[in-house]
Each structure stands twice: as C-alpha cells, then as structure tokens.
C-alpha cells in the first residue's frame, strides 16, 4: 500500500492522485464515445463539469452551514481538500438538480440531449471511474477485506485479509473492457430507426448494462469486505442496495431491448423471430 507521496514539504494522498487520473481518463473516454455517437462532446463535458462542481461546492457549503461559527471564524477552511467536511446528500441533490436544469435549458433552446443517449455516453467514463476508485482504495488500504487465511491473503491493518480492493479492481477492469466492447455497437439516434442494422443497441442499453454489471460486482464482492455497514447487526447494507439496483437495471435493459425489437418488427425486413401478424380470413359462404 502507498497511501501518500511525500514531495518536499507536501504530502499528497495517492488515492487523490489516482482519482484525478481517473477523471482525466474518464473525460477522454466520454468525449470519444460522444463523438462516436454523433453527440456534442463539449456540451456533455460541460454538463459533467457543472454536475461535479455543483456537488463539491454545495456539499462543502452545506457542511459549513452546519458548523457556521467555525467557518465564519476561519473562512479559508472552505478550501480544505478533505472529503470529511462535505455534506454528501446535499451535494448529490445539488448535482442532480444542476444536471436537470442544464439539460432542460438546452432542450428549450432546441439543442436537446436525449437522456438515454447521454447515459450511454457516460457509461464508459463511469467504468473508468470505478477502476480509479478501486485503485485508490488499494493504494490507501481503505475498503479493506474481511479477515481470511488464504494463499492470496494480504497482511493489512494487523491481520491477514481478503485483498478486497484487488478483487474490486479486477472486477472494474473486466466491466470496463466489456463496456468498451459493447460500446462499439453504436446505437442509432432513435429507437425506431433500425436502419443501422440488427447488431446495434437501443439507446440506454449500454448504460443499464454497465449498471447491472457494477451492481452485480458490488453484490458479490461486498461479501469479502471487512468494513461493511450492517443492518440488523448482520445484513450488509450495500448488498441490499446493489440487489435493488441490479433488478432495476435488468428491468430497464428489458424495456429498452423490447422497444427496439418492437420497432424492428414493424420494418419490412423484420427479424425472423418476430411474432407473425394474425390474419383473419372471411368465412366462405
């Protein structure tokens, strides 16, 4: 584990460096996939920037409001680079509101970005960020595993443990590779436009596939963590949330896939497994 890098008098958290590298790589992937889908990459990156900045600024201001006297006496504390002094719930709400506001504004100006197309463009970036988070945890020793004596156990926090961070990094790498492979099947602009061929994916398919894979990884790998939040003293809360997210993602995958199939079946060269239209014949008199 390499939690910090000492550069002269400055101490840099390795996990923060990896996270920044992740942001840089993720924005690159998002821009590339936006171009592949004929979307405006600059606008999507602007959206990402606004959402992230809203989360950080509002999360910090909300936290400072909770501790108003301390921050009034020392306003520079607002700039402190620590996640401990953030109100994450308020930050997430602000991020969603800012994103919705910007999308609505563009739609009113006649430059809409369909939500499902946007989510598809973001999916490869999210897969990259998953890798960055896992690598950061591996460097810092956070998100540590449950005690276990296995040939591949690591000695961490005074015990032999599952290398849960390595499991999660490998899972994230696998998910990213699958998403990149799947992303090559570029969807057409509309679910009703099937001219691009049968191999194309319906809008939203890529994102919900990523969500299903990410939720599956969390559901499975949380079992090897040593720091899970427990409900009722035994049930690992992230697993319950992951199962709900997984079922939601699968339901959405089915929905977008059916909408595409239904549109394809109405084309003259419809796929062979389409239901045959029912024909009525007049009884012969």
């Amino acid at each position: 584990m390499f939690p910090t890098l000492q550069l002269g008098p400055a101490v840099i958290q390795t996990s923060v460096l990896l996270l920044l590298a992740g942001v840089w790589l993720a924005t690159g992937r998002i821009e590339r996939h936006a171009r592949m889908r004929g979307q405006n990459g600059d606008r999507i990156l602007t959206l990402v920037l606004v959402v992230v900045a809203s989360a950080i600024v509002t999360g910090r201001l909300a936290y400072a409001t909770q501790h108003l006297q301390a921050y009034l006496a020392n306003p520079l504390g607002l700039l402190s680079p620590t996640m401990a002094t953030m109100n994450l719930e308020v930050g997430a709400l602000a991020a969603l509101s800012a994103g919705a506001f910007l999308l609505r504004r563009w739609a009113r100006r006649g430059q809409p970005i369909p939500l499902l197309d946007l989510l598809d463009v973001l999916a490869p970036g999210m897969a990259v960020m998953m890798m960055a988070f896992s690598a950061g945890n591996l460097a810092s020793g956070s998100a540590y595993g449950a005690p276990a004596r296995l040939p591949w156990s690591i000695f961490l926090w005074d015990e032999w443990r599952h290398p849960s961070q390595a499991y999660e990094l490998l899972a994230a790498l696998g998910i990213w590779l699958l998403i990149e492979r799947s992303a090559k099947k570029v969807p057409s602009a509309s679910p009703h436009d099937t001219a691009a061929g049968p191999s194309t994916r319906a809008p939203g398919f890529l994102f919900f596939t990523w969500m299903a894979m990410a939720a599956s990884a969390r559901l499975i790998l949380e079992a090897f963590r040593g720091d899970s939040v427990l409900w009722g003293g035994a049930i690992r809360a992230p697993q319950v949330v992951a199962l709900i997210a997984l079922l939601g993602a699968l339901w959405s995958v089915g929905r977008v896939a059916r909408s595409r199939r239904s549109a394809a079946c109405h084309q003259p060269d419809s796929p062979s497994d389409c239901p045959t239209p029912t024909t009525t014949t007049s009884p012969r008199l």
Binding site: T4, I12, A70, N74, S80, A84, G233, L247, L250, V253
Partner: protein, 188 residues
Amino acid sequence: MMHLAPHPRRWALVQALVALAGVAWIALSASPGMPQGGGPPPSPGQGFSAPELVLPDSDGTLHALSSYRGRVVVLNFWASWCPPCRAEMPAFERIHQELAARGLTILAVNATSQDTRQAALRFTEELGLTLPVLFDDNGSAQTSYRIRALPTTFFIDRRGIIRQVVVGGPLAGAVIESVVNDLLAEAD
C-alpha cells in the same frame, strides 16, 4: 444472457432467478458482526480501535491514551522542523482551550526520534502551548501508528475508535473544529 432481454416472459424469469440468487447470497454472506463485548481490533486506520500509547510529557509524567477513554481525543503527530505542523499548531491550541471543558483532549505527539527535545520545547514555548505535548523519543508510537508523513492527525471518538485520519496539513481550524464538534455531539 442479454439476448433474452427482448422476450418479456424469459426476461422476467431471468430477473426472478437473479432476485432469488441475490437474496440467497446476501443471506449466505451475512456478517457475524462484532464479537460480544469487544470493539474493532486495534490498528491505526479509520474504523479500528486506536492502538494504546504511553508517552511522557516535558515533566516526565506518563500519559496513556486509554486513560482518556470517554473523551474525544485528537492525536497530532508533529515535528518542529515541519512547516505544515507549525502552521496548524495554533489552531489546535485554540480549539483545545475552547473545547477541553466539553470533553476534548488534544495530544500533540512530537516525533522526537526525528526531531530534538530542545527544538520541540523551544517551539512550544514560542507558541505558549497549554495542550499536552508528548515525546516519542524512540519512535515506538510512530511505528504503532504507521506514521509515513508529518503532520498526521487522528480523530478518536469517546469509545476509542479512530473516526478520521488526516495525513498532511496544515489543517484549517474550521475543519478541526467541525470534525471535533460532530464527535463531541455523539453520545458516549
């Protein structure tokens, strides 16, 4: 599996199987929880019990971390030659004076094995520090807390569990105060 997605009945079956398998896995991997009567094991990481340390102050009086159980403790490792350590010390002193009566103890552990007592004492006199300054002459506390960089600050709750670790500095007074206030507000 995804090729089943366009077929409603088959896909519903897939979802039902995934739900069943998911619930079974959650039940199988349920954590036995903490052992009765025991907290997390001691280790210098967030969520673990703070490892015990017993160190002398400038008078030679020994201070054991365990003797502060029931109070919120901020453990700050520092050295007199370290500029961020020097920059954040006045904030620790101010907060110590303001919040000691509410149950806060700030222990400033000088990394004496990398510093000298004279330089450390000169600095504490310059600032007129009243908070307990402890001396880690042989580096044993730095070893058990795995100090890799200075300053490093541990925020420990009333039960002796490390709730936050901040490597590097200087920590802003508002940050220290807000984290400490949250811990002081928690019930014992």
